[in-house]
């Protein structure tokens, strides 16, 4: 459990010592990759048996199913990203800066998952925030990167402040019950005896704190800025895992530490609904590839929050089985999203690596030269849009099924309907992403990416595939999470509900569906491998126009749809697609506030005109007021 930490710290120190940037690069990423492998081992160990470790200074660590599942995901994503980075980071300089922040980033994420003490949790949370901030502003010579970094920094710190406040409120209570301690177990004990108003305040603060990090609408606005600003391997980690630590934290806090509360679940559902809706329709509009993917992350966090929120509200109202299935669905989607979103970000990174461009309007036809990258990006896109036999489908389907059948909470079936619709939008914008970059007439001549980068992506693609066909690989450990909550996993498994995807009672349909899925995937593989072009090739038919004049730009893909959904893009008078105009809630939430503060600032500084007489007069006015108050009192 400690070995990866030591290795990562060692990596950070080594990266400071080594001056040669090439060696440094290989070393950092190599060490990170190895420690990620170790993290996978730790996670698998944790799935098989519980591990608890107590270190001095209250540094308690533990691995239960929840932590283990997340550890494994971190390991997989981290390993493939590190592999990828060995080549990718060659185009960047400043290796020592990178090395320290990258290793500490992974370290912090790992430790967040395994610590069992609120103080250390916050400590590592902060470490994660800071190191990821450093990575986001890696290319700090660019104005927009600094802006994005600033926004990220401030928003996450407001979140951290909320978390700390909540933890302190809980900690105060531990004094009253006589165990002044910050470990999760005693906080949990304290929360049972808390006055309900304070407890509700805690819930609210924690929710805000964690939702900022997940990038849930309306607290998301840092996310689409920070992800494109960071180097792509970092975006892959940010989107692939960092925002999931908040999901982990939500599950840990709201399911395990604090008593489950119905309205928290409803709030989570609501924010999930908003995130998936706005994330989806904003992604539709993007022309910047990584920005599109970032909004897609917002959307997928919406699915995850919907699942978890449904789980929370169902469990809190006593629907144990449905609730635990919803929770499992949420976690499963977390796992799946980690895989395909990291894959997509890495593919966007490969394009940047070769062309240096993110604008999908000017990119095109790269599939001709970067065949493997194109195929891998395709797998990611299809998986994210939920095509069966790839992993995105399974979890989405589970989420729909469980929400659509939660008739006791009427909002949930509505959510399911919306979610299905948003899923179609996902398909739409990912089609835009993939086809505008990789298909069409090539915009420039490039080479295929280095093998290591492809390998990094391929690992994730393989997992997308495996988890799509045999989701029980992930679902079995995930169901154990509910077991930790005190719900018998066997009951859940017995529910035919999850039938096809769990090793439940073997029914004909179970077998046949698995058979069908296996058949489909086999079919896909076979066609992919053996289907050869007929040998006769023809120029695409351009309807008689000059081919060079034709290009279908990314910005015009869904113009009509966007026009139709104009009200959803909050008060944008006319959608201008040629520009990088942002349908951003910032404009309505943050900017007016900033403007207002600027105005107030101007107003209150108006007396400071430089005249010493004026200053004296103001001072004495204040003094006279005070004297007046004294006289009035007496």
């Amino acid at each position: 459990m400690i070995v990866p930490c030591i290795l990562l710290i060692l990596g950070a120190i080594l990266s400071l010592l080594i001056r040669n940037s090439k060696i440094c690069n290989i070393l950092i990423n190599g060490i990170s990759a190895i420690s990620c492998l170790l993290i996978i081992v730790v996670g698998v160990g944790g799935i098989l048996s519980r591990i608890v470790l107590s270190l001095p200074l209250g540094l308690e660590m533990g691995l239960d199913s929840l932590s283990s599942v997340f550890c494994v995901v971190l390991g997989i994503v981290g390993f493939s990203v590190s592999t990828y980075s060995i080549k990718y980071m060659e185009i960047y300089g400043r290796m020592r800066y990178y090395g320290v922040s990258y290793t500490s980033f992974i370290l912090a994420m790992y430790l967040i998952l395994i610590v069992r003490n609120a103080f250390w949790f916050i400590f590592f949370w902060e470490l994660m925030t800071l190191s990821s901030y450093l990575l986001v502003v890696y290319e700090d010579e660019k104005e927009e990167v600094r802006r994005a970094g600033f926004k990220y920094f401030v928003m996450t710190h407001i979140g951290v402040a909320c978390i700390i406040a909540a933890v302190l409120l809980l900690y105060q209570q531990t004094y009253l019950i006589g165990v002044p301690d910050m470990s999760f177990s005693s906080l949990s004990e304290a929360s049972r005896s808390m006055p309900s108003s304070v407890l509700h305040l805690c819930y609210l603060l924690l929710l805000v704190g964690f939702l900022v990090k997940t990038g849930a609408v309306p607290l998301h606005s840092w996310l689409p800025d920070a992800h494109p600003a960071a180097p792509s391997n970092i975006s892959a980690l940010l989107s692939g895992f960092m925002i999931k630590t908040a999901v982990y934290a939500i599950i840990r806090m709201f399911f395990f530490v604090l008593p489950m509360e119905f309205w928290c679940g409803i709030l989570l559902i609501a924010s999930g609904l908003l995130s998936m809706f706005f994330g989806g329709i904003y992604a539709l509009k993007q022309v910047d590839s990584k920005r599109l993917l970032a909004y897609s992350s917002v959307e997928n966090m919406g699915y995850i929050l919907l699942g978890i929120g449904a789980g929370l509200s169902l469990l809190a109202t006593g629907n144990l089985i449905l609730g635990s299935i919803a929770l499992s669905a949420g976690i499963l989607h977390t796992v799946n999203h980690a895989m395909f979103k990291a894959l997509l970000f890495l593919s966007a990174g490969s394009v940047i690596y070769r062309t240096g461009k993110r604008n999908m309007d000017v990119l095109g036809g790269l599939g001709k030269y970067m065949g493997m990258t194109s195929s891998l990006a395709l797998i990611g896109s299809l998986s994210a849009s939920g095509v069966p036999v790839l992993n995105g489908f399974v979890s989405k389907w589970l989420i729909y099924s469980v929400t659509a059948s939660s008739w006791k909470i009427p909002i949930l079936p509505v959510c399911a309907a919306v979610a299905v619709m948003i899923s179609a939008i996902t398909g739409a914008f990912l089609l835009k992403y993939w086809s505008s970059i990789f298909t069409g007439r090539p915009s420039e001549e490039v080479k295929e990416c280095p093998r290591l980068m492809i390998a990094g992506e391929a690992i994730l693609a393989v997992f997308c595939f495996i988890l799509g066909v045999y989701p029980m690989l992930a679902l079995l450990p995930i169901v154990k999470v509910s077991e930790d909550l005190g719900i018998k996993a066997s009951i859940i498994r017995e529910q035919l509900f999850l039938g096809p995807f769990l090793i439940g009672p073997v029914t004909i349909s179970t077998i046949s569906l698995i058979a069908v899925f296996s058949f489909l995937s086999l079919f896909l593989l076979l066609t992919f491998v053996f289907l050869r072009p007929s040998g006769i090739k023809a120029e695409p038919w351009f309807c008689g126009t000059r081919p060079s004049a034709l290009r279908f730009q990314a910005s015009s893909y869904y113009r009509n749809l966007e026009e139709a959904m104009r009200p959803a893009y909050i008060k944008i008078p006319r959608i201008t697609l040629r520009k990088y105009e942002e349908p951003d809630t910032d404009r309505f939430l943050v900017k007016p506030i900033v403007k207002a503060f600027g105005k107030i600032s101007r107003a209150i500084l108006a007396p400071a005109m430089g005249y010493v007489q004026l200053y004296l007069a103001l001072m004495f006015l204040a003094l006279l007021l005070i004297v007046g108050v004294i006289i009035w009192i007496s």
């Binding site: 599939g367 065949g371 194109s374 195929s375 395709l378 299809l382 849009s385 939920g386 069966p388 389907w397 729909y400 099924s401 659509a404 059948s405 008739w407 009427p410 079936p413 509505v414 399911a416 309907a417 919306v418 299905v420 619709m421 179609a424 398909g427 739409a428 089609l431 835009k432 993939w434 086809s435 505008s436 298909t439 069409g440 007439r441 035919l496 039938g499 096809p500 349909s509 179970t510 569906l513 069908v516 079919f523 066609t527 992919f528 289907l531 050869r532 072009p533 006769i536 090739k537 023809a538 120029e539 695409p540 351009f542 309807c543 279908f552 893909y557 869904y558 009509n560 749809l561 139709a564």
Partner: protein, 304 residues
């Protein structure tokens, strides 16, 4: 019995789908005061296309080659989930109806991806239009399906049809409207045939030829047949047999055929009497139905 039922389902759908198309063509010709092609003409077309030499687009991805096959495969799996003749579908489990939605959507999504993979910008335009419509269509479909599941208290098509056949509800009737519109939309008829219209030069099929074209057309027909069956199942669930008892089963299959033909007739009449929309008009035209579908969920919860 499930296995045999599944095979029967597949066989029926594969057989009937082109026939329905041929029937539609015949009806349309009659409305236009033409004699029209024979009913089996579509079958002949497909067979001819399969025999033809395949020409590939020059700059294309591998997906371009395989997407027709995959699309067909997904449509066929969808055919296993739909009850034909018997209330219990061959592949039934909780949530199967959502799988159906996904399979059909994926089938068309794959065609869209495949067509853009051909590298022709016109296919890109077609694909984007198709997906624009699909977004709204899926919303409508999802809304009505959730309504049915709320009414029936189950997410299995089998249970839903069973319940609807015993106790019809107003909400179900309301939910049928968007569902019908969706089925109409997916069968690529005027005014929603924007992405692949006969008089149109742009479209998703522009770069497909020969066997690939045949496969895609076939898969589209199967898809619309499956959807039409879903509509029939949910609208008039009484014709479905309770089990695979031979006499009832066969009777209900014949009924199914008749109902399909009736539906096709209605659709074709509507089709012939309408003019084509521009894409933006089509999208805006769908929005009210989306609202209706979400309204129907509310109605279902109100117990209407």
């Amino acid at each position: 019995m499930d296995l045999i039922g599944g095979l029967i389902n597949l066989f029926l759908v594969m057989l009937i789908a082109p026939v329905l198309d041929g029937f539609a063509r015949k009806v349309r010709a009659r409305i236009h005061c033409r004699i029209g092609p024979p009913i089996l003409q579509t079958w002949y077309d497909i067979i001819k296309l399969f025999k033809k030499k395949d020409i590939d687009a020059e700059v294309s991805s591998r997906l371009y080659l395989i997407s027709p096959y995959l699309s067909l495969a997904f449509s066929l799996v969808a055919a296993l989930i739909i009850p034909i003749g018997c209330k219990k579908p061959p592949l039934g489990f909780t949530g199967d109806v959502l799988l159906l939605v996904y399979l059909l959507a994926s089938s068309s999504l794959l065609v869209a991806f495949g067509s853009t993979a051909s590298g022709n910008p016109f296919s890109g335009i077609g694909a984007s239009r198709m997906l624009s419509l699909t977004v709204l269509g899926e919303g409508m479909l999802a809304g009505s399906i959730v309504t049915f599941s709320v009414i029936a208290g189950s997410l299995r098509i089998g249970s839903i049809t069973e319940l609807l056949s015993t106790s019809p509800r107003l909400a179900a009737a309301v939910a049928l409207i968007p569902l019908a519109v969706f089925v109409y939309l997916e069968s690529e008829r005027v005014p929603f045939d924007i992405h692949e219209a006969e008089p149109e030069i742009v479209g998703i099929l522009v770069e497909f030829s020969g066997r690939k074209l045949g496969l895609i057309k076939y898969s589209m027909m199967i898809r619309s047949t499956v959807l039409a069956t879903l509509l029939i199942d949910l609208a008039v669930p009484w014709w479905l047999a309770d089990s695979y008892m031979i006499p009832f089963y066969i009777i209900s299959i014949i009924l199914w055929l008749l109902l399909l033909l009736l539906l096709t007739l209605i659709f074709t009449i509507v089709d012939s009497s309408l003019a084509r929309y521009r894409i933006s008009m089509a999208i805006e035209g769908l929005v009210p139905f989306l609202c209706i579908s979400f309204l129907s969920i509310v109605l279902a919860f109100l117990g209407v």
